[in-house]
Each structure stands twice: as C-alpha cells, then as structure tokens.
C-alpha cells in the first residue's frame, strides 16, 4: 500500500471526507452530494453553461474577491484601531513597519476589482438575457448585492483617515443633507415643522444619521467601521446565500430554453 492510500484509508481521513477519492463516475457524483463546500454545486451541468466565453466567470470571481476581502480584512483588523488618534498611524505602520505588508494593497485593490467584476457580472447576465423568467427575483437580489458592494467600498474608503478618505466621504455624504424631506437642505424639509420649530435640522437629518455627527468626525469613523466590518458583510453573506440558492432553484446556470 502506498503512503497516499494508507492516509486515505485511515480513520482520520475517512472521518473528515465522507466519500472515497472522486476518481470514478460514482464517487464524482457522491463527492458533490456529501461535501459541504461542494454541495453548492449540482452534480452535473450543461457543458455550454460553464464555458468561460459564455459566463466570463465574473460572478465566481466576485465571490472569490469577497472571500479575499474578508480574509485580508480580518488581518487588517488585528492592527487597525478606528479612532482619530490611531487610525491614520496604524495604516501608516501597516505600510512602513509590517514586513511584506501588502495586506492593505490586497484589500484596497481587491475592493476596486470587486466593484468592477460585479458590474461585469451584471453586464453578462443582461447581455445573455439571464434575468428573464424564471430568474427575475435573483436579478433583484443581485441589484441589492451591487448596492451593498458599493456601500462596503464606500464605508471602507473612510477608514485610512487621510485627506483622500475624509473628503471623498464628505463629498459623498453631503448628498444626504439634500434628501427630500429628510435632509436639512432638501426640498420639502420646511413642511416638517412642529409649532414653528424645524424638525429637520443639521443635527436630526439623514446626513446626521449617516455620519453620527454634523460633519465627518470620530463618530463617523466608528459608525463606518462597524458598518464596514460587521453589518454590511453580514447582510452580504445572507444575500449571497440566497443568490446562490436561487441560481440552483431557478434552473442552474442559464442557457437557451
């Protein structure tokens, strides 16, 4: 018996993998059904449906980048403290002190790439008409995921706490103060008055809710940090699960009817 076979026949190996090596047809089917990570996939697919020139692999790449962002993000969180005193210095140290420090680079470029691959994925889905029945609802879930991807990137943009960060977020979040009715410079804000006192001021409006303050400050940093590291990733994970599940339930990878 070779070493490989000895290992594969050990109690330990068999306890982890619930099936023999997928070398013959039967076990290649069994592996898809009994492995947690693989059971996302069907057992067999149309050959045309997985051709790279058809799918562009952009949905898969987006998911992979989400995993890259999660992994590098956790590593960055070990070093990064979201306070006015430390945020910038920690990022500086990640660049200058940590050896082979490319985690921030991986995280930032991965984030940009994820936005791009999400768009390309949607572009492909549109051009192949794959949003048509029975996949309408999954397209809607996809649009929400697009929105969350942009929000993930936007909230993360503030965290380095440099000039680029606060001014990009200032410009972006300034829009919120013009929200109709709910922004203190928005149309219809004057209507919301009680006894002659404005209900919507710069300390109660939509922008304040977003920033946690009247301007981009420490409260904003904390708020965006929590949104970026906990709230939005959790929402994305849930919607991703639904997105993948619906791909399977709605008939698998799209193809001509």
């Amino acid at each position: 018996m070779s070493i490989g076979e000895t290992i594969r026949n050990s109690q330990l190996w068999k306890s982890v993998f619930r099936h023999p090596m997928p070398l013959d047809r039967r076990n290649r089917i069994v592996v898809m059904l009994t492995n947690f990570f693989l059971h996302l996939h069907p057992v067999s697919v149309k050959k045309q449906g997985i051709a790279l020139s058809y799918t562009w692999c952009m949905g898969g790449v987006t998911f992979f980048l989400f995993l890259v962002e999660t992994l590098t993000g956790v590593l960055l969180m070990f070093y990064y403290r979201p306070t006015l005193e430390w945020a910038f210095k920690d990022i500086q140290d990640l660049r200058d002190v940590v050896s082979l420090g490319i985690m921030r680079e991986l995280h930032r470029w991965g984030a940009h790439a994820m936005v791009i691959t999400t768009w390309l994925h949607m572009y492909r889905v549109f051009l192949t008409g794959s949003y048509k029945p029975p996949r309408e609802f999954n397209w809607v879930v996809g649009v929400i995921l697009l929105l969350l991807t942009l929000l993930l990137s936007f909230t993360g943009y503030l965290l380095p706490w440099d000039q680029l960060a606060i001014w990009a977020i200032t410009v972006g979040s300034n829009m919120a103060r013009a929200t109709p009715f709910l922004g203190h410079e928005g149309p219809g804000q004057q209507i919301l008055k009680v006894g002659g006192i404005d209900m919507i001021t710069n300390a109660t409006d939509a922008r304040f809710a977003l920033l946690g303050a009247r301007f981009v400050g420490e409260e904003t940093l904390n708020r965006f940090y929590v949104l970026h590291c906990v709230a939005i990733p959790l929402a994305v994970s849930l919607l991703l699960a639904i997105h993948f599940w619906r791909v399977r339930k709605d008939g698998g990878i799209s193809g001509p009817l």
Partner: protein, 448 residues
Amino acid sequence: MHGHHEEFIEAVAPGLGFYYLLLCLMNWGAAMYLWRTNVKTYFTVAGVGVTNVLFWLIVGFLFIILSPIAMMGSPPEFSHGVKDLVNSLSGPVTLTVGSLVGMMFLYFFRRWWTHPPIAWTLLNLSLLALGLAMADSNFFSIVGKGDNVPIVGLVFLLGYFNWLATYKAVINDDRRKQGLPPVEKTEDEKVLVWPDLVYTEMICMVALTAFMMIWALCLQAPLEEPASSVKTPNPSKAPWYFLGLQEMLVYYDPWYAGVVLPSIVVFGLMAIPFLDFNKAGNGYYTIEERKFSYIVFQLGFLELWIVLIILGTFLRGPNWNFFGPFEYWDAHKVLAGNNVDLSQYFWGGMLGQALPKAPLGSGAGTEIAYILLRESPGIILTLAYLILLPPILAATIFRSFFAKMGLIRFMLMANLLLLMISLPLKMVLRWTVNLKYIISIPEYFLNF
C-alpha cells in the same frame, strides 16, 4: 520645469519599457496561437505575400524595438501638436457626443469590427496610444494615480467583453437567419461538475490570487496626508464609482443627482425583468432578437454610467472644471459660466417683464402661489413630459409595447425611460442655451 521633466521620464521609463515588452509578447503569443491552430490567412502588402502569423510577429518586433528605447530614457510620446489638438478638441460636449457616435458606430458596424483581426488591431492601437500618452507627465499624474488605475483596467475589460458578447451575438443572429438555433443550444451535452467545473474554479482562484499579489506588490495603495477638516482639497472627489453621479451635479442639484436619481437607477435596475416582456434571448447572446432592451442598457450603462465616470475621474480638475487629458490641472483656470433659469427665459426673455413676486408681507399661501406662477412654465413642461408623453408614446411608436405590457407596466417603463433620457436632454440644454434649472424654487431647495 525642465529638470522636473527629466526626473519624470527617468521614473516612468523602466515601466514603459516593460509595458512595450508585454505588448510584444502579447502579439507574439497571438502569432503563436494562429500558427498552432492553423487559422492562417494570406494577404499581400505592397506586392509581398504575408500570412497573419508573420504580420503579428512583425507588430511584436515593432513593440520590442520600442521597449529598449523607452527603457533607456526616451519613451516615445505624442508630439506637442497632437497633444494640443486633443486638449483643445476635448470637452464635456465632444466627449459625451463623441462617445455616443462611437457607440452608434460599434452598433451599426458590429459585423465589421468584431472580426478578430480588426478587434486585435484596435486593441493594439489603443494600448499603443495609452503607452504614448503615459509618457506625458500631466496624463500620467492623473491616470497613474493608484485609485484611478482600476478604471483603466475597467475600460479595457469592458472593451474586451463588449467585443466578446457582440462577436457571439453576431454569430447567433446569423444562425437565426439561416433557421438554426443559437450556438449555446447546440451543445446540450452534460458534464460532471467534478472535475469539469471544480477544476476550472480552482485554476481561476489560483490565477486570480497570483494576479492580485502582483498588483499589490507593484502598486502601493494610496495614503495621503492625515485627515484635516480645515484643508479642503481641490478638487474634492467622491470614490471613483460615484463620479458619474458627481458629474451629474453639474446639471442637477444634490437632491436629484445625489439622492433621487441613484434611487431611481437602483429601482429601475430591479424593475428590468418585470418590464422586459420579450421572451426571446433568454440564455444566449443576441442583439437582433432584443434590440430595444440591448440599446437601452448599452446607453444607460456605457454612456450614462461609464463615460461619465471617466469624465469625472480623468477630466475634471480643480473647481470641477474640465481639463484635456494632457492639460495641467491649473487651480486658477476660470471659465465663464452664466446659466439662466427657464423662468427667467420665459418672463424676462419672452414676455419682457420682471419675475412674478409676492408683495412684501403677504402670507405663506400667497407666496407659494406666486412661486408656482413664476415657475409655471417649467412645472407645466415637466408634468407634460412625464404625464402627457407616455400616452402619446403608447399611441404611436410604442403601440405594440403598450398592447403587450398593460397600463401599469407601460407607464412605469415609459417614465423610467423618460427620466433616463432627461439626463442627456438637460446636458444638451445646458450646452446649447445655458439652461440652469427648468424649475427653480430655491426658497424650498427645489431646483430641477
């Protein structure tokens, strides 16, 4: 100034040399592929017979000659004349209208430009142009900025995928004319996910990991000075993916460009599957079978989203002024801007009287009535656009749409479409008659 230029060239020369080397390898790879797959074509250049393999080998040689020249410190670049011409020709109008004309060209001549040799030539030319432009310090300082690099990638990726999709659609459309099913339908063979899909995924992951590592090692993530709430940079820009919306701020107020418009975009995207009643083109590439939805999406995504991002990122400088690609971002550039509201045009220009204004000391009701009177031309125009046009469309050019969609779906589609078209419409009105607002009620922050 001259010393600065030499410093710049010294800094970019190795990178450009490497870049031309990659372009050479890219063409040699193509030649190799054509040679191995035996897709040879023969043609004559000035009486000499060549094959496509030889042709791309020679193109590769041209690039490999450029490589050491660039590396030794004199990278080829556009002449001053060309740069000045490009700078003087470019502007928001030429860029938007030009890209629209370009897209129409791509649409009508899709049979021609999707031929692989022609597409490959276009790719070579655009990569060469990028290389030549990168040797300009003004161009480099904007395009080479860390966060802007992904947009360059996005442009080339979109070019590639647009080609791929159009190429496949043309083939499928031709097959349909001959009464054949789309290519995607001919191969309905089923394969096991292990190994066929699982292995592809793993190779993709490994390749992508390598790619991300190289990207991360070669290009440092930007980190500017520590944040300061008193030092406002000029220009202050949102993250790049929102710059299309920031560009719309030129034409609309924040409540619309920054809040309502993005909400409409998201809602409109979600509504697509419920508005597109066309059952054809589900699961394969085609243009002929779904022309309307194809054109609307291309227009919305490429023209009104991507082109505006490019404009907002690369060509908008201090004070959100427009700068040509080779122009220095001068913070003191002053542009005359005297935009006029529709109400001013109507009351002042056409009727020759002052704007209606409530008498001093009148109540809130009277004041509002006067404001509505003052803005009545714009309000009537907007309401007519959104309420009168859909039924007219339903009775005329969209007659068949209306019959198939029913009232609610048709009204929704017509309004979304009209709102989308209102963006370029307002842009054109600004460029031609300096129109500022159609409805201008600054008293209630309601300018449209």
